[in-house]
Every structure is written in structure tokens, then in C-alpha cells.
């Protein structure tokens, strides 16, 4: 079970919530859950006139990610089935921004198992001179080789890049460090 670092489990209902969210898959890569992808931020209860509202922060991987609304709906739907609060609100949040460091170790394994190289741990540099060295070779998710090349930093979705493995001759995708 994964708990939010900013929300220590004091309310026993929060454990139920995090466990339920662990079953909600990412709409584009269903092998990884939204919790392991790190897009769920804080979960908390707020008092409202009619009782209590459960508020969960959803942190988009990219600002323009078209899957954000699908995720929001699916997360909200799953939480409503718990009947744990009078209202449920899934709030899109950029505070703090999602970064690829938020993908959990289990999430990185799930990505690798589906043929996606997990994001490298490189820190983003904003200096133009460093740009070309920003994307080090990804590790091939099929054979583990480091003998790979970046084919295109832009892939089929905003968060993915395209690579090629010179050893097993497979093209593969990686999650971009961001």
C-alpha cells in the first residue's frame, strides 16, 4: 500500500481510499495504477453543510494531457462507490507539479513489464548548453541493454519518448523525465 507523504494515515478511512485508488488503472497504460504513477496527491475530508466532502488532488503528468479528464472521472467514480463521504471532489492540482520522480518503485517495474522504460533520474536542466545531454540513453525494457539511442523526444503521447535498442533491435518507448 502506498500512502501520500503529505497525508499521514490518521483517519482510518484514508487507508481504504488509498487502497481503492490503487485499483484505478492509468487510462493509457493500464498496467500501472494512478497511485503508482504518482498522480494522486493529497486526500482529505472537508466539512460541508450536508456533512463531509472527500477532496482528492489529481496531478496531471503534463498540463495538456488529454487523459486527465478520464482519470478524474474514473478516480471520482471509484471513490463514490466507497460511500465514505457525502460528496467527492477530484481537484486537478499543479501545486506542487507532478514530476517523474513521483512514480513509485512498483510503478517503475510495472512500466518496464509493459515495455516502457521508466524515466531516468536525470534532473532537468534549463541551460541551452545542457539540453542535448539532458536525455541520457534509456535502458531497454526488453533486454536491459544500455546500448540504446534516442530516436525522438516526442512520442505517441506527451509523456513518452521513442528509443531504439542496438542489441535486441527493438524500438521502445520511455517515460520522459519531467
Amino acid at each position: 500500500m502506498v500512502t501520500s507523504p503529505s497525508a499521514p494515515v490518521v483517519d482510518p478511512r484514508l487507508a481504504t481510499i488509498w487502497s481503492a485508488l490503487g485499483e484505478v488503472p492509468d487510462p493509457e497504460i493500464p498496467a500501472i495504477s494512478v497511485v503508482d504513477l504518482g498522480v494522486i496527491g493529497d486526500a482529505r475530508f472537508e466539512p460541508i453543510e450536508a456533512g463531509e466532502r472527500l477532496v482528492v488532488d489529481l496531478m496531471p503528468t503534463f498540463v495538456g494531457c488529454p487523459a486527465t479528464e478520464v482519470m478524474r472521472d474514473q478516480v471520482g467514480e471509484r471513490l463514490r462507490t466507497l460511500q465514505i463521504a457525502d460528496e467527492v471532489e477530484v481537484r486537478v492540482s499543479f501545486s506542487p507539479p507532478w514530476t517523474s520522480d513521483r512514480i513509485t518503485p512498483a510503478g517503475r517495474e510495472a512500466l518496464r513489464g509493459s515495455g516502457f522504460a521508466p524515466p531516468s533520474g536525470v534532473a532537468l536542466s534549463f541551460a541551452p548548453g545542457d539540453l542535448l545531454t539532458m536525455l541520457p540513453s534509456a535502458i531497454c525494457p526488453y533486454c536491459g541493454s544500455r546500448n540504446t539511442t534516442l530516436e525522438n523526444p516526442f512520442g505517441p503521447t506527451l509523456c513518452r519518448s521513442i528509443h531504439h535498442c542496438a542489441d535486441c533491435r527493438q524500438p521502445f518507448e520511455a517515460f520522459k523525465p519531467v
Binding site: V63, F94, P128, M134
Partner: protein, 264 residues
């Protein structure tokens, strides 16, 4: 989409912020639309994918700025994006022109993305939290755009000949209109006083000239025009509109106009 609640603003500060948000949103929106036209016809397949992804980023950023603006003014983001007459848009004059050839597209992107990077970097220090947060998030994404356009700058200049000549000519052609990205805002004094805008547009413009100069110099080029001190704003600014833009406007409002109130 909602963002975290922000500090409350007075009416003048709110109006000034609305003007800033509209310029940010319209810039990304219009550029995203122009360059999405390359989908399917970019010079190489890999560029097709890259340009489509980059344009999708810009439209996504525009949407986030429009939504912030809609919250501030109790309006609707789609209404702001698609429901205005051409002369109500506030994008920079640089974005008034059709995509042109590939050299023109690369030149405009180099001018715009380097300017946008300077602008976003500064806005991460905004006293208005939702602006600072969005700028910080977008800046990380835009780093990939910088990487991409820097690669094209190197490619076209290293190739020499017609490739280099066309790029140089396009940079010179758009240099004056590119200054409009940093055109002074009517409410700039108010935004500066409250720290919503951490630095004056003229200061950002000067820093952009320095940064762009470094990029171009590394590729054996120099700034396409004079970088005077203080920098001269573009005469076209953010209000002059062109027949090119009128055409684009009729394209991107087509769906919204044909079925009023439609959702998609």
C-alpha cells in the same frame, strides 16, 4: 479543471491579471493552431510526431491559462477561446502570420520558444500562486521544445547553403514582430506593484535578446536585428491583426460557430 484557491485580488489588479492571462493564453493557442497544420506534412515522419506533440502541449497550456482566466472573470474557457471576434485576440504580432515554409516555422519557433522560456522563468516568481505554479509546470515541459528547436537550429545552419539562407532570412523577416511578445501591458504597473509580474516586460525582452544571442552565436549566427537598450517594442504589438489570422480564426471557430453551445 480547477486549481488551488489563490489570494483575493482587488478589481484593478484582477483586470490587469486578466489582460496578462489573455496574452499568455492567446499566444499558446494561436501558435498551437498554426503549427498543428504540419501534422501529416512535416518534412520527415519523426518531425510529424514531434510537431504534433509540441502543438498539443501549446493547446494544453492555452487551455490551462484560459481556465484560470475564466475563474477570475466568471466566464467560460471555451467561450473565451472560440467566442471572440478576430480583433479581440491578444496574441503577439509574431503569430499573425501563416506557417509559411519549414524555415519560417523553425525561425518563428526559435524566436517564440526562447522568449516564452524567459517569460515562464520569470513568472515562476509571481506572487499570484496559480500563475507561479502553472509557469513552473509548463517550464519543465517547454524544456523539451527548447531541445527540439535548438536541434533544428544546429541542423539547418550546419547544412549551410539554402537551408541556412532561408532560416537567416526568416529570422530577419520576423525579428520586428517578435518584439511584440514583450509589448508593454496596459496594467503592467499594477501587476508589477503587486508582484504578480515579477519583472517589467522590457527587462524580460532584454534578457531574451541576451539568451537568443548566445544560441544563435553558438550556431554561427548573430541577432537578426538591433537589440537596443532600452529595447524597442514592436509597433504592431498585440492588437494589429492580419488577413492570415482572419483565415485561421475562421478555421478554429468553425465547429463552435456551426453548433452553438456544442460540447466536445
Amino acid at each position: 479543471m480547477t486549481v488551488a484557491p489563490a489570494r483575493s485580488l482587488g478589481p484593478t489588479e484582477s483586470a490587469a491579471l486578466a489582460e496578462l492571462l489573455l496574452t499568455l493564453a492567446d499566444d499558446e493557442f494561436i501558435l498551437g493552431f498554426w503549427d498543428s497544420e504540419w501534422t501529416g506534412i512535416a518534412p520527415i515522419l519523426e518531425e510529424d510526431v514531434a510537431m504534433s506533440s509540441i502543438s498539443q502541449d501549446e493547446i494544453g497550456h492555452a487551455r490551462a491559462w484560459y481556465e484560470l482566466l475564466a475563474q477570475l472573470t466568471a466566464d467560460d474557457a471555451d467561450r473565451i477561446a472560440f467566442g471572440r471576434a478576430p480583433d479581440e485576440y491578444r496574441h503577439a504580432a509574431l503569430l499573425n502570420h501563416a506557417r509559411g515554409d519549414w524555415a519560417h516555422t523553425v525561425a518563428r519557433r526559435l524566436l517564440y520558444e526562447t522568449a516564452d522560456a524567459v517569460r515562464l522563468e520569470s513568472l515562476t516568481g509571481s506572487s499570484y500562486a496559480p500563475v507561479a505554479e502553472l509557469a513552473a509546470k509548463m517550464r519543465r515541459e517547454e524544456t523539451y521544445h527548447l531541445l527540439h528547436w535548438n536541434a533544428w537550429l544546429r541542423q539547418l545552419t550546419a547544412a549551410g547553403g539554402e537551408a541556412r539562407d532561408r532560416l537567416v532570412a526568416a529570422l530577419a523577416l520576423r525579428w520586428s514582430d517578435a518584439q511584440s511578445i514583450f509589448a508593454p501591458l496596459a496594467g503592467e504597473g499594477i501587476l508589477r506593484a503587486g508582484g504578480i509580474l515579477p519583472e517589467a516586460m522590457a527587462a524580460l525582452q532584454k534578457r531574451w535578446h541576451e539568451r537568443l544571442g548566445q544560441w544563435l552565436s553558438a550556431a554561427g549566427l548573430s541577432l537578426p536585428g538591433p537589440a537596443t537598450d532600452p529595447p524597442q517594442p514592436s509597433t504592431a504589438g498585440r492588437t494589429g491583426r492580419t488577413p492570415d489570422f482572419a483565415w485561421l480564426h475562421s478555421e478554429f471557430t468553425l465547429v463552435a460557430r456551426s453548433e452553438e453551445g456544442a460540447t466536445w
